[in-house]
């Protein structure tokens, strides 16, 4: 199911033409620096489409991670804990029909067919940096809609301060849920102002294609300034709450994974440093940037908050 309406939106309306970067121009910007950095000999992927979308917060030497890595190296414990498990075990995952429930402190609660949930919004292509808490990173051309759109339509009550997300719980389809490694179903959450931030995306695709199952089909969250596990996959429920909701990894190991989990090179994970990261496809490590390079846009959300305590 490709969630876009090519008939009534011209691609030039989705992303202004001036902001398109064709592959040639892209490589001119990013290629030289990346080669100098000791990038792997992996050629810029042949699957890179002419236009992947508007780049957000990219550094000069950032170039999209090859499709094979984006779709072959995944953390999606519902399908197994090995990085190659999700691609191997999600082949028959059924994503149509798909229902999303809006619940909690909102005026427009209910269950929605995914198509109806997406339809009122404009689907956009956006290239984001992605930083896993395990100190590896990628650059991913997502396709999706701003979460703020969906929240607006749900009409949260003034008392709503947070939004919690829940992944599908279906042991028949998700063999990893038979293992008690996580209190299934997986949950995540954001403060409402984080959720409403224009960078926060509900992704329905990547590389211009429908979201592959192993990447969280049919719809997932993308919060580029937070560690990857915040970007919950295969969402079936959104709940508006007044209190900070429970989130899966925080429940499991609160000393290792905080509610905020903003990318922060100054606060180490107890078992490894977060100062540097390994970009998939490159050998030499890069410095990790505060808020994953999105500080200009999001740092103000956390004014007055001690980020060492609220990691």
């Amino acid at each position: 199911m490709l969630i876009s309406r090519p008939s009534d939106i011209k691609s030039s309306e989705i992303t202004p033409e001036s902001e398109y970067l064709n592959r040639r121009a892209w490589l001119a910007v990013a290629g030289g620096a990346a080669v100098a950095l000791g990038a792997l000999g992996r050629p810029a992927s042949a699957q890179v489409p002419q236009a992947m979308g508007k780049p957000f917060g990219l550094q000069p030497d950032d170039k999209p991670t090859p499709f094979a890595d984006v779709t072959g190296y995944n953390n999606f414990y519902e399908f197994g804990t090995d990085k190659s498990d999700p691609a191997a075990n999600s082949k028959n995952f059924k994503t149509t029909p798909w229902t999303i429930e809006v619940d909690g402190l909102a005026a427009k609660k209910g269950k929605f067919q995914l198509e109806d949930f997406i339809k009122p919004s404009t689907v956009e292509d956006r290239i984001y940096r992605f930083r896993c808490v395990e100190a590896w990173s990628m650059v991913i051309p997502w396709r999706g809609i701003p979460l703020a759109d969906v929240i607006k339509r749900a009409e949260p009550l003034p008392s709503a301060k947070f939004v919690q997300f829940t992944t599908l719980f279906d042991r028949k389809q998700m063999p990893g849920q038979d293992v008690g490694s996580i209190p299934w179903p997986y949950t995540e959450g954001l403060r409402l102002d984080e959720a409403n931030h224009p960078l926060t995306l509900l992704a329905t695709g990547l590389y211009g294609k429908t979201l592959p199952n192993q990447n969280g089909a049919p719809i997932r969250l993308v919060v580029p300034w937070k560690y990857g596990f915040k970007s919950i996959k295969s969402i079936v429920k959104m709940t508006f709450t007044e209190k900070m909701p429970k989130t899966a990894w925080n429940e499991l190991a609160p000393n290792e994974y905080g509610f905020y989990s903003n990318v922060n090179p100054a606060v180490d994970h107890p078992r490894w440093s977060q100062a540097k990261e390994r970009r998939i496809g490159e050998f030499l490590r890069r410095a990790t940037l505060p808020f994953n390079g999105y500080g200009d846009q999001v740092a103000s959300l956390y004014n007055g908050l001690d980020l060492r305590k609220n990691y």
Partner: protein, 220 residues
């Protein structure tokens, strides 16, 4: 139940196959060749022999094989005693040295490929992160064992002292599993399997020691 007994007797009658030592060495080298070739090719040519993250994969793979060779080393004595395969005894040193070699390669992968000689980070890792300290200790304890593995050193130390020193291998195995267990994020099934295997191998020895202690007590 004549047949199983017969099969067991047949198994016990096995003698060392021709060229066993050489074949064992070649087999033991295979994972290292795979990891080194895979990592080198992935890093320099962008292949995906070890997958999307060859550095981590090589590091974990070599750590895994360190523990596997420790298991193999500790299996020699029980196999020898149960099956009466005394010819296996001389392979214990080979396997033990391979365990040490894989441990060193695992450490190289960490130092050169993973943290890339970032000494500041290495110091913090070793001092602040218990699993790295424990892993380092496990490897360090293998150094005296490797250095005293020659016939000359056994003669110099004397059998009794040599045996006592080489009991350190149990500490290394224990620390190695703890290191692995603490390093995984959530899924501890693999470290658990190693822990269970070592537990069986340790239990066999405790049983043997008790038996011999009882026997010497009876003699006295």
């Amino acid at each position: 139940m004549a047949e199983p007994q017969g099969a067991f007797a047949k198994l016990r009658a096995w003698r060392e196959p021709k060229g066993f030592g050489v074949v064992l060495i070649l087999l033991a080298l295979t994972p290292a060749i795979y990891a080194i070739y895979g990592a080198a090719s992935d890093i320099t040519r962008g292949t995906r022999i070890l997958g999307s993250n060859p550095v981590k994969e090589a590091e974990h793979f070599l750590g895994d094989w360190t523990l596997r060779f420790l298991v193999a080393t500790l299996m020699i004595t029980p196999l020898r005693q149960i099956l009466k395969w005394n010819w296996l005894a001389k392979q214990r040193r080979t396997l033990g040295l391979f365990a040490f070699g894989y441990g060193i390669l695992h450490w190289f992968a960490y130092i050169f490929l993973d943290v890339q000689l970032d000494w500041e980070e290495i110091v913090v890792d070793v001092t602040k992160r218990p699993y790295i300290l424990i892993g380092s200790l496990a490897l360090l304890l293998m150094v005296p064992l490797a250095l005293t593995s020659t016939k000359k050193m056994i003669a110099r130390l004397g059998g009794k002292r040599w045996n006592r020193l080489h009991k350190l291998v149990y500490v290394t195995a224990f620390l190695g599993v703890v290191h692995f267990w603490m390093s995984v994020k959530r899924d501890v099934s693999e470290p658990m399997l190693f822990a269970a295997t070592f537990a069986v191998l340790f239990a066999y020895r405790i049983w043997k020691w008790r038996q011999s202690a009882a026997a010497s007590a009876a003699r006295a």
